[in-house]
């Protein structure tokens, strides 16, 4: 009945020209059309946060976002850019080393949201971290290790930044 719409999506810096149906959510297109299954589906209504991606740097529930509306925007997922993303990698290392990963189903969404949080607020307080996570459920960890991992990632990124600074500042 209704035609496929050609769209051009930029995901992790790579352009994908695909035909999609207008009623597809971004989550469905990422998982089903582009085969990027790192972004998870769970509650389907913006409560659990497992489907979180960044759109123009902002964390968004991809289950509540039409794929056609993501056209022309920069989408970032847990898969990251082909060349790697130092921020994502730091966060991932911290999640691993602090025991913030158990079953791992909430982890991609948490990691992506952390990237947005730390880009905005490089040294969040414990309360700010918790506030940033309210749209993310985790049933395994009880959140404690996740908060600790984010604190660790923030320190790691600041250390990395301070090591870079003197060299680059002349």
């Amino acid at each position: 009945m209704i035609d496929l719409i050609p769209v051009s999506l930029r995901v992790n810096g790579v352009r994908y020209d695909i035909d999609i149906r207008p009623w597809r959510t971004l989550l469905e297109v990422l998982r089903e059309s582009l085969g990027m299954t790192g972004t998870k589906r769970s509650c389907g209504e913006g409560q659990c946060g497992t489907c979180t991606v960044l759109i123009d740097g902002k964390a968004v529930n991809s289950c509540l976002y039409l794929a056609v509306e993501a056209q022309g925007k920069e989408i970032a997922t847990i898969e990251g850019p082909p060349a790697g993303d130092p921020a994502l990698q730091q966060i991932q290392r911290s999640f691993v080393s602090k025991g913030a990963v158990q079953c791992g189903f909430c982890t991609p969404g948490m990691v992506v949201a952390t990237k947005a949080l730390l880009a905005d607020n490089p040294a969040p307080s414990e309360d700010e971290i918790r506030e940033a996570l309210v749209g993310h459920l985790c049933r395994c960890t009880g959140y404690v290790q996740i908060v600790e991992a984010i604190q660790d990632a923030a320190r790691g990124m600041q250390d990395a930044a301070s090591q870079m600074a003197p060299k680059g500042s002349d």
């Binding site: 209504e45 079953c103 009880g142």
Partner: protein
């Protein structure tokens, strides 16, 4: 000696990140919903909208004619053999045939080219029902003339247990003090984030393969064989990554699993099913709602002489593991206390609700809520400090309970002391500002139960030519860290690094048979099997190395990927070299096998007598709350727990387990409630089924856990359970804290702001009546 062994650990005892964490953090771990196969179809289930009805007819023609639909099946497409957990209680069917017994029961299934089409097809299925009277409460269901759910269960009694140890009547007669209370618990869910999902392929040679996120793949394997009426050897169950389990549906074969296979058989294509969260929350396996009547007699100084408990459990429409559920409640009634005389009577009753089963802590959680709430009231009545009354009644190392539990290690007293210290109990209790309170709660758990049927675990290790280790067991990692701790045990024995051990996921075609992941059994049961398998490999390698090195094999030790002569450490050879020599020159396959629990004593499930588990884990916790007296809102401002998990083999994983368990209990106590009105779940979504979020917990500084370390002789390297016990005392601690803060004693879960606010009004009225 224990200390010494621990100090000598090479691998164990150090906080070790989960081996699969990097993959998961990168979004690369493949969960069942992530599987995509060429030509794969998508399945959906049609569910009953009625709590109790006879299926008169199902017309599938319109659905089958919808373009894109490849097959439609109903209960008649299956052999009609019932399957289930316990031999006495096989009452599940893959799809209902003549009767549906709860809203959400599976009636038909479709496979189509995409999910949209499959969903659309469901609307075209026409089912004619003849409505039957339904019953939702156990008291109603037991009455004469109530609607009957299952023919062989008169009075809708799904299971009944009775046990008595000691002379309860005499003990009550002797008691200085007796009190009775009634507690009510509610339906809650596992709440794992990964919905049930599976992919089925039934090939043209008659072999059926299911990929699924199962905690206990071998249970699924057997149940599939039962319900499909084919040989288990024609079925293969392959475990994917499991996005959280907490028992329940991931333990069993579910209608989706049968339908994925049957639809694959009909279409010749792989078929995938993924539940929506609504389905997950509507279908079975909630925690049993219970009414618990508890009578306790003590001496003047608060020593428990006898307990008598009567329990009524709302089982829902099917048995699941319910027979064991109520057995366990009775068996664990006393722990962690010394109760010399105890009597337990319970009924699990069928009703037209989603069925109940196991959920982290199983039925121990409800019992601990009741018992530790009541204990606090006893302490108050007798004027005894709440910690002191627990100490006076604590079980100790070496005790044997009247029902035959042999307690090897049980550092309960020390757990209480640690919690008192961490929480600042004595500086807070009775001294906190108004509407702030602190409460104590205790519990205990098993390290795996000895079951009637298959109870043993096994492990197999094969050495590879590069010196790495191929380890298989039948135990699944569901996030709790099994792959890591099993690898650590093997690495400890073989003197290699954790990363040298490759732990495979369960595949019924390749891994050893195992009952599954439940009851906190894996570290102890499977861990012992892995240890034994690794020791066997060491024995074989030492023999070969000893010969090559000209050293007595008794003198060889395995460390840092080498085999070393303990008497002259310069004499050493790499593990890899020996393995290669054995393989290439001697044509040997270096494998080791281990098993645990195979020939152990069994329990008498009629009398309840016997040592149910190899080891028992006590736990204590204190919770501090602040209550808003105008709204009833509860803020959990502090939580301090301690438990005796034996020797924590991976402290990072243990910490993750105990904190996770405590937070889940906060959710169950305060927020979560599966609300059912006439059998319909009103809140089947994460918007309304409210699990704790990051903002609902105490600050990191006020949220602590301590391990009291013991060396459990039955455990591998002294270990016991960690994942369930820690949650058992929390709910009573919260109830006791709310009482301390407000004077409102809540005996019904969940403890909602509304119940607290109206409770407060009651308390104030009482005070008013008593005059100024």
């Amino acid at each position: 000696m224990n200390e010494q062994i621990r100090r000598e650990f090479q691998v164990l005892g150090k906080p070790t990140p989960k081996k699969d964490a990097p993959l998961k953090a990168a979004g690369r771990a493949e969960f069942a919903d992530d599987i995509n196969m060429p030509g794969m179809l998508h399945g959906k289930l049609l569910r009953s909208p009625h709590p109790h009805a006879r299926i008169v007819s199902i017309d599938t023609s319109r659905a089958a004619a919808l373009p894109g639909v490849r097959a439609v099946i109903t209960g008649k497409d299956f052999p009609g053999v019932r399957y289930g957990n316990l031999p006495r209680t096989r009452d599940y069917l893959p799809l209902a045939i003549d009767t549906v017994r709860y809203i959400g029961e599976e009636v038909a299934a479709v496979a189509a080219i995409d999910e949209d089409t499959a969903e659309e097809a469901l609307d075209l299925l026409q089912v004619e029902y003849e409505l039957l009277p339904a019953v939702f409460e156990p008291e109603e269901a037991m009455k004469p003339g109530a609607p009957q759910l299952h023919a062989p269960a008169p009075g809708n009694i799904s299971a009944h247990t009775e046990s008595q140890f000691g002379d309860v009547a005499a003990a009550f007669a002797e008691a200085d003090y007796v009190r009775e209370d009634v507690f009510e618990t509610h339906a809650v869910k596992q709440g794992m984030l990964e919905p049930h999902a599976c992919v089925g392929v039934w090939d043209s040679f008659g072999k059926a393969t299911l990929w699924s996120c199962k905690m206990s793949p071998y249970t699924v394997w057997r149940q599939l064989a039962m319900g499909l009426d084919i040989k288990p050897s024609d079925i293969r169950v392959v475990q994917t990554y499991v996005g959280g389990g907490f028992s329940g549906g991931k333990q069993e074969a579910m209608p989706m699993d049968f339908c994925a296979l049957m639809l694959s058989k009909k279409t010749g294509r792989p078929v995938k099913f993924v539940h929506t969260m609504e389905e997950v929350l509507t279908i079975g396996h909630m925690r049993h709602p219970m009414k618990i009547w508890l009578r306790t007699g003590t001496t003047k100084d608060g020593r428990i002489l006898a307990q008598h408990c009567k329990l009524l459990a709302n089982g829902g429409a099917y048995s699941s593991i319910g027979g064991f559920s109520i057995f366990l409640a009775g068996a664990m009634l006393n722990l962690p206390y010394r109760v010399p005389n105890m009597k337990f009577e319970s009924d699990r009753v069928y009703t037209n609700n989603g069925f109940c089963g196991a959920l982290r802590g199983h039925t121990v959680v409800q019992m601990c809520f009741a018992r530790d709430s009541q204990l606090e009231r006893i302490a108050e009545d007798l004027g005894i400090d709440p910690l002191e009354i627990r100490r006076r009644n604590a079980l100790h190392d070496g005790d044997v309970t009247p029902n035959g539990f042999r307690i090897n290690t049980f550092a309960f007293d020390e757990c209480i002391t640690r919690v008192a210290e961490m929480s600042g109990w004595y500086s807070k209790r009775g001294k906190l500002p108004k509407y702030r309170g602190i409460g104590f709660g205790c519990g205990a758990h098993l390290s795996g139960a000895r079951l009637m049927g298959h109870s043993a675990s096994a492990a197999e290790i094969r050495m590879l030519e590069d010196g790495t280790v191929h380890l298989t067991t039948g135990s699944t990692d569901v996030g709790q860290g099994v792959e890591t701790v099993m690898s650590m045990i093997a690495a400890e024995v073989l003197g290699v690094e954790v990363d040298d051990v490759n732990y495979l996921k369960v595949d019924s075609a390749a891994t050893p048979l195992d009952p599954g992941t439940f009851g906190s059994r894996v570290t102890l049961f499977t861990g012992n099997a892995v240890k034994q398998a690794a020791e066997e490999v060491c024995r074989q390698l030492a023999e070969i190395a000893g010969e090559r090195m000209g050293v007595d094999q008794q003198d060889l030790v395995f460390r840092k990927r080498e085999i070393i002569n303990r008497k002259d450490e310069r004499q050493r050879v790499s593990l890899k070299e020996i393995v290669r020599w054995a393989m290439f020159q001697q044509g040997r396959v270096i494998t080791g096998r281990g098993t645990y629990g195979a020939s152990e004593e069994k329990i008498d499930f009629q009398t309840g007598q016997g040592n149910l588990s190899p080891a028992y884990n006590p736990t204590a916790c204190a919770v501090e709350v602040e209550v808003d007296p105008e709204t009833g809102f509860v803020d959990v401002v502090g939580l301090w727990g301690a438990d005796d998990s034996g020797t924590p083999l991976n402290p990072m994983a243990v910490r993750g387990q105990v904190i996770g368990a405590a937070v889940m209990s906060i959710g169950h106590a305060l927020y979560e409630n599966l609300i059912r009105v006439d059998g319909k779940v009103m809140n089947p979504s994460f918007r309304d089924y409210k699990m704790p979020q990051a903002t609902d917990l105490p600050k990191l500084a006020d949220f602590q856990h301590a391990n009291v370390i013991t060396w459990e002789p039955e455990g591998p390297f002294g270990a016991k359970e960690a994942g369930q016990g820690a949650g058992t005392g929390v709910i009573a601690a919260l109830a006791n804290a709310i009482y301390d803060a407000t004077g409102v004693r809540l005996t019904r879960l969940p403890m909602t702001p509304e119940s607290i606010l109206f409770g407060l009004k009651g308390v104030q009225q009482q005070k008013g009546n008593r005059g100024p």
